[in-house]
Symmetry: C3
Subunit: 338 residues, 3 copies
Amino acid sequence: MQLTGSHILSISQFDRDTIERVFTVADSMTPYAARRRVTRVLEGAILGNMFFEPSTRTRVSFGCAFNLLGGEVRETTGFESSAIAKGESLYDTARVLSGYSDVICMRHPQEGSVAEFAEASRVPVINGGDGANEHPSQALLDLYTIRSELAGRGRGVDGMRIAMIGDLKYGRTVHSLAKLLLLYQDIQLILVSPKELAMPEEIVEQLRLRGHDVKVTDELTESIQKVDIVYSTRIQEERFQSKDEADLYRGRFRLNQAIYTQYCEPNTVIMHPLPRDSRADANELDNDLNQNPNLAIFRQTDNGVLVRMALFALVLDVADQVDKYARDVRWYNASRNG
Amino acid sequence: MQLTGSHILSISQFDRDTIERVFTVADSMTPYAARRRVTRVLEGAILGNMFFEPSTRTRVSFGCAFNLLGGEVRETTGFESSAIAKGESLYDTARVLSGYSDVICMRHPQEGSVAEFAEASRVPVINGGDGANEHPSQALLDLYTIRSELAGRGRGVDGMRIAMIGDLKYGRTVHSLAKLLLLYQDIQLILVSPKELAMPEEIVEQLRLRGHDVKVTDELTESIQKVDIVYSTRIQEERFQSKDEADLYRGRFRLNQAIYTQYCEPNTVIMHPLPRDSRADANELDNDLNQNPNLAIFRQTDNGVLVRMALFALVLDVADQVDKYARDVRWYNASRNG
Amino acid sequence: MQLTGSHILSISQFDRDTIERVFTVADSMTPYAARRRVTRVLEGAILGNMFFEPSTRTRVSFGCAFNLLGGEVRETTGFESSAIAKGESLYDTARVLSGYSDVICMRHPQEGSVAEFAEASRVPVINGGDGANEHPSQALLDLYTIRSELAGRGRGVDGMRIAMIGDLKYGRTVHSLAKLLLLYQDIQLILVSPKELAMPEEIVEQLRLRGHDVKVTDELTESIQKVDIVYSTRIQEERFQSKDEADLYRGRFRLNQAIYTQYCEPNTVIMHPLPRDSRADANELDNDLNQNPNLAIFRQTDNGVLVRMALFALVLDVADQVDKYARDVRWYNASRNG
């Protein structure tokens, strides 16, 4: 796949070579994201950060990634849809806004809207999330995190074992991650969810056809015993058909330090797409895991900056020039590992 | 008119020489807006982009124009009027905000508010729209577009023929454009609107006193036959006194490709201030015109960036230094004509 | 106190030496804030300007201060609390957002929230206001303004006379300023308020224990006769227990030019934290004071930029490098004293 000048709309665009290229470039962004170096390669470029639905962290993450390459950011934060409300087509919106910037990141509540927008845009568009459909940079940062965490343990994505936990029916991130894993080999997946919120059969079949070993269950503790990665996601109570059903599963997918210590192998990586609900009755990750060095949830969001920097650098064809316009950081650099 | 350090509040400030100066500078901004060149002339300058009423595209257009000159943008997007709600005067708001930036662009729902603000401001203020009153950069970009489009056809603004169509009573843009045309000679204007939404008599008289040839009508197809420019605007149903009146005119001011082909001269330019309502029952421009090379509506918004860059460069007195701080673009430059 | 890498959460962190250091650095920022010089010392740095409660002027002031040092600003303006609404902890929010920037300025409606956030942050956090609790940069800019104004009159903060007027019970700014004055000597304070809205007894006692001369009263005209500084604040009607009580004091704390001329010494400085309610029935500063050269309220907001530049420069340890990366301004520089 050619990334220069391309729209990034869906993970289905990516083959394994392209993903490796993105990840190699993301690796090379580390000194800049960690504020040891500053690059000005995109000085003068403008990102149109068009969020027609609010999402503080995704918006800020894209904006910071662009700033870290030296570019400027103009943005909308989701509360000014006057033109669209007046009946303007996505075609018109795209023709207009693409005259203002060098690349656009767009989030929109409606499925397919970003692809429609991209078709009319005169500059590359990156999908920042279109409803329940796609959020490709999230899927890439998840896979990048798995790769990094396993590399630190002397392993690779091929042959790994992963438990996906929570709402696997509606969770956009687990669908995307599962599809990306079709590009890799010999993976063991344990899909842990309430029966009502199971992974769509179509995705399970694709995974099995690829030769992956897939187990479907609603038992947490058994599932996390022999995996490299625990990928937890939110279960929203309103997804259940009845309160009785919700009560049946209350807290059964909540992972805490005691369960981790009792059941998991010593270095099992814990991931979550965030935000997590930290309240005690939620089906998520307990705060007592915060001191666990295998909790990778904030390394995930940090990696999001690296992956988004890589996407911008590749789409705008400056990946090989980043270091050329670089210098050391002049200011106090807080330890980012603290 | 002296532009350095001046407020840009109304098109009535402009004489013909000043307009030509603005347009010449706008022309010189083309390589920067088209991303062939980058300039840093305003590096370190700050635009206060103060939108006390939301307008994504105008706000982003001003912001991008300033970024393209190398400056920074701080802004408000219309939803935080706490201080004004607490009874703060525009005088105080202006004294405070003008301490933060080098130039201010301000939009405000209330007529006259931007002029009142400017009087107390310590830095130049550009009116980004004050209610039904003025939006001078829109009028200038419209005239600039007419000039550019006609230049490509070997003609000038003097002696041109234009049909203005739609709501000519309440439409701020057609009022401003008509007033700017008072600075030019021998223009033929055909003013096409429902009788209830006709151009104010005062403006018609001024145009005639200037020696222009003005025709007032409510027939679309006759009016567009021998003109260089068709300038279409939105008619909002709620402007009519009754539903019957609205029904009478439904679709009668809608221009589509079939009507264009049947009635217009081959190279007639189609303009619109945008946003247009693309829904089929609106009185606007049909989507089937999108492939018509004479549809200039997105060249209008592109030209808005050029004109706003020119205004900033002139107000801040850097028009002659733009090229001095320039270099080539380093990144992939999407074709902006696609 | 060590400022490099520190959080700025409360004025109680500051000793007198640290304040003097901040003010000396703020003085050195004058050529940059006045746009005679441009510095790029923080080029490549990112401020996370996280306003979880809207406040246009404080947000823009922090953003401009960072831009004036050459840095970039990513921000949120208070209307997108989706993650927090979904039950996310401040710990998680802080861990995520601190991965995006070099320093964070945060405003939040809840007391103590910024300190909680700072504890989890991986970069320095500056409190931009946490409910009724603290807003340290406002207190510092008030004190800096007093120092500057009195310096112009050949005096210092030690030994000065100040009248604080208005709602001294709920006013965050007067509490903070009073506490800062505990670091200075021999100050005369006249605390003027309705009895129901008097300065908390605890603060009065601290001031007296420090050796300051404190007088408590509800009479305006007597109180302003022999002071160097009149610091006026807003009284909100809803603070009174009854309408009768409010009527009793209506307009009694309003200062206008006639009262100033009749009662004040010639060079008495007038201050206010802004916004002021300019409507005639408010208990604040009258508009007819706007031409009075001793009205320092807009010098206060201007000084806010200097003080915030100083805080950023000190926290990020670049105060000594600001001039090294400086050059002259290239553009038209409006007189900022007009």
